[in-house]
């Protein structure tokens, strides 16, 4: 166990940090936010050039075979700077799903284009009623006579969906909505006839879309990997996304604490600076405590992600998502509170950090959901566990050796 960064890790972190400090200052970020697409294609190309888009992907698809720690280092900096590019939705969520579910040809074709920044993917999986439950989907896939598929359903919150070129879309080939088995993944171009996409922005300004489709026809080659076996791949993608979100939240909290501390040291009221008022000092201390507990929890999730036991892994990730989600809400809201009026301004960073932290808590199941998951995954209640859970190889879910 080693809590210090290796030389390579420091290089990566510094590169991301430098990029954000030099090109992602708050007013620059605000300008990007207010663009119609809500992100910067220039920055996206930079990330591709710097190799960040393929950081955890294997080398055969043009990735850098980095560890989860590398991913976490990037996401922490992105959290600090409130980066708007669809890194999480495209380079983590969709890419991991393709990498885990696709056959060699599909993986290489799609991911190498994604890694180069030439293809924006989005995972269209969750539905209105899922609320974090990875298995619960009702979208149906039925075979056509010519071996293709007809897809019918509705996807509620497709992250990065408004700007995606292609969707990695889940549908149920067989089984009921609670079943682990029977879920397939399909590749669907954004302009596929019959696919109704309604793009919108999320509370934090992020890009997203809702998809609706009835008897949308795709060819047999659109199927990623084997039919009905995609749940494990989706879970792996979501696991990566949860760890990424936890890291992003730690970065964002860190920023809140820093900004708030600096504000308290200069802001005067009642003939003194805020930093001399004990009640406010203690609030700041509590924020710092939540931040450091979250940081610890993130490390624990990284350790847990390497656990070969499926249940233990799930539990470590759920615990992290639950705790970090709550801490983020606390830190974000107290950041506003300690600022007073200025904290409510949309022209100031604290409110944006608050909104991002609120959205992070809500994504992929909120804290209460993950707390209840922790329990369901214990020995008390038999879990609707995938029978073949051991066979889902999470090759990438291994933390760095060095």
């Amino acid at each position: 166990m080693d809590f210090t960064l290796s030389a390579e890790q420091i290089l990566l972190r510094d590169a991301v940090r430098q990029h954000c400090q030099e090109q992602y200052r708050f007013h620059e970020r605000l300008a990007i936010l207010r663009r119609p697409e809500g992100f910067s294609r220039e920055h996206w190309r930079s990330y591709a050039r710097l190799g960040w888009l393929g950081v955890t992907l294997p080398e055969d698809v043009g990735g850098f075979a980095g560890s989860l720690v590398d991913l976490v280092l990037i996401m922490k900096e992105f959290g600090r700077a409130l980066v708007l590019e669809p890194f999480l939705s495209c380079a983590v969520l969709a890419a991991q799903a393709v990498n885990a579910a696709g056959n060699k040809q599909q993986r290489q074709h799609l991911l190498s284009a994604m890694v180069k920044g030439e293809l924006l993917l989005a995972l269209a999986h969750f539905e209105m009623e899922s609320r974090g439950d990875v298995q619960f989907i009702t979208t149906r896939a039925t075979r056509t006579a010519n071996g293709g598929f007809l897809l019918s359903g509705r996807k509620s919150l497709v992250l990065g969906g408004g700007i995606a070129d292609q969707f990695v879309l889940s549908a149920r080939s067989y089984g009921g909505p609670h079943d682990w088995e029977g879920i397939s993944l399909f590749l669907v171009p954004a302009n596929a006839p019959g696919l109704v996409r309604r793009g919108f922005r999320t509370v934090d300004g992020g890009n997203a879309a809702e998809l609706e489709f009835t008897r949308l026809e795709v060819e047999a080659t659109a199927l990623l990997g084997e039919e009905g076996c995609a749940a494990g791949a989706i879970q792996q993608a979501v696991d990566h996304a949860i760890i990424s979100l936890c890291a992003e939240a730690v970065g964002a909290m860190d920023k809140v604490v820093t900004v708030t501390r600096d504000y308290m040291k200069t802001r005067r009221a009642y003939g003194t600076t805020l930093s001399t008022l004990q009640a406010l000092q203690h609030r700041l201390a509590d924020m710092l405590v939540e931040l450091e507990l979250s940081r610890s929890m993130l490390y624990r999730a990284l350790a847990g992600a390497a656990n070969p036991d499926w249940q233990a892994r799930r539990k470590a990730l759920s615990a992290a998502k639950a705790l970090i989600g709550r801490s983020g809400r606390f830190v974000g809201s107290q950041g506003i509170q300690l600022h007073g009026g200025i904290g409510m301004s949309d022209e100031y960073i604290i409110g944006h950090l608050f909104k991002r932290l609120a959205v992070i808590e809500a994504l992929f199941g909120n804290s209460d959901f993950h707390l209840s998951q922790m329990f369901e995954d214990t020995d008390i209640h038999a879990k609707k566990t995938p029978a073949h859970s051991e066979s889902v190889e999470l090759t990438v879910l291994t933390p760095a050796e060095k």
């Binding site: 922005r201 999320t202 509370v203 009221a269 003939g271 409510m344 949309d346 209460d368």
Partner: protein, 400 residues
């Protein structure tokens, strides 16, 4: 000590409910259900509504009879606000009728009363409150706006911040330091009335995190205010400001709105679905909901105690601070849950790009819940932060 509602109050509420319903049905037969925010804050709708209320003696019923009020006790005022909050009606300008009106009829000159009170009652003038400044949010004693007497005018210079609805107001009441030439220090604050059309006033709305420009920066550059617009004595503005803030403190807890939010949460828990089952079957939401309901109940009885208490008892001030402190805290938590229960749909945000919400869309409960959740962060800051309320409570208790 007995806790049965007074029959008079029960009757009063029942009559009020009917009357309000009748006025609304006559005035706005086609009003949108679930009162759209833009619809409700439309100045024409607001004027029409307050005028109709005025005809029934309900525009300023808490004012003294002399100024066409009815001298209602605080409890009736509270019942009135509650009944109004139960229906979909236009907003009323509480800054005018609740804040500046009472200051004027208590401390104003006869001329000020004659000039301004009727225009407030009829909804003709909308007012805004010009207290806060960049370096003085809660701490009004460090205000810097200056007024220098020049003949029959004060010349005002300064920068006011967080001014709610200034972009939409006809008049502003403001605190400023009147300075004699050459004598700069510590003149005390004075309470002045400004016509918003006076040259030198610039209003810059700015957007809050909920995407809405609730508040403004108001720049005052050599603004000429007639001396007859000084309220009360020069240098005693702080007294009038305190009077004003103390009067409306129980309204700040906005229990009627909170009640509506809790009711809406119950409905939403029943209608939203999680993995095939209504959300209300999720035990963590059930516990949360019960907790909110219980706390709301405690606050309702705390408010009743406040409304029945004597003004001059220091404990009354403590009750008001508790109402503010815990009412706003509960409001934040309920608004958070009320957003959360919509799941993915709640994450959609139509206002994030600064486009003013399409009224239809922005008032759908799900969109309102997202905006409201963000807006409520201001609840524990505006009107005296939670920290200040704790200072007050501890101060009275410890005799500081």
């Amino acid at each position: 000590m007995n806790f049965e509602p007074n029959p008079d109050d029960v009757l009063f509420r029942a009559e009020l409910r009917t009357t309000i319903q009748n006025i609304l049905d006559t005035l706005f037969p086609d009003r949108p259900l679930n009162g759209g925010r833009l619809w409700a804050s439309n100045r024409e709708h607001m004027r029409k509504w307050i005028r109709a209320l005025d005809e029934h003696g309900y525009a300023v019923p808490h004012w003294p009879v002399e100024w066409k009020g009815r001298g209602w006790p605080p409890l009736w005022r509270s019942i009135f606000e509650d009944e109004v909050s139960r229906v979909d009606c236009p907003h009323r300008d509480l800054i005018s009728i609740g804040f500046v009106g009472p200051v004027l009829y208590t401390f104003g000159t006869d001329e000020q009363k004659r000039k301004f009170l009727p225009r407030i009652r009829s909804g003709e003038d909308a007012w805004c409150q010009g207290f806060s400044e960049p370096d003085a949010g809660s701490d009004l004693l460090s205000l810097r706006t200056t007024a220098i007497r020049q003949g029959e005018h004060f010349i005002l210079n300064g920068r006011k911040l967080w001014i709610t609805r200034a972009h939409d107001a006809d008049m502003m009441f403001a605190l400023a330091r009147i300075e004699a030439a050459g004598n700069r220090r510590q003149q005390g604050l004075s309470f002045l009335l400004l016509d918003m059309r006076t040259p030198g006033i610039t209003v810059n709305p700015f957007r809050m995190i909920d995407g809405v420009p609730h508040v403004n920066e108001v720049l005052l550059e050599n603004v000429r205010v007639p001396v007859e617009n000084l309220v009360g004595e020069q240098g005693k503005g702080w007294v009038y400001a305190r009077f004003l803030l103390d009067r409306e403190r129980s309204l700040v807890a906005q229990l009627p709105g909170l009640r509506r939010m809790v009711a809406s949460l119950r409905k939403t828990l029943q209608s939203e679905i999680e993995c095939g089952a209504p959300l209300i079957e999720n035990p963590s939401y059930r516990l949360k909901f019960s907790q909110y309901e219980a706390e709301l109940g405690a606050l309702e009885f705390l408010e009743l105690r406040f409304l029945h208490a004597r003004d001059d008892d220091p404990n009354t001030q403590v009750l008001a601070s508790i109402l503010k402190l815990r009412g706003t805290d509960l409001r934040q938590r309920v608004s958070e849950t009320l957003w959360e229960v919509y799941g993915d749909r709640g994450l959609e945000f139509s206002l994030c790009l600064g486009a003013e919400a399409n009224d239809e869309r922005g008032t759908e409960p799900v969109h309102w819940s997202a905006v409201n959740h963000l807006f409520q962060r201001a609840a524990t800051i505006a009107g005296g932060t939670s920290e200040i309320q704790r200072n007050i409570i501890a101060g009275v208790s410890l005799g500081l």
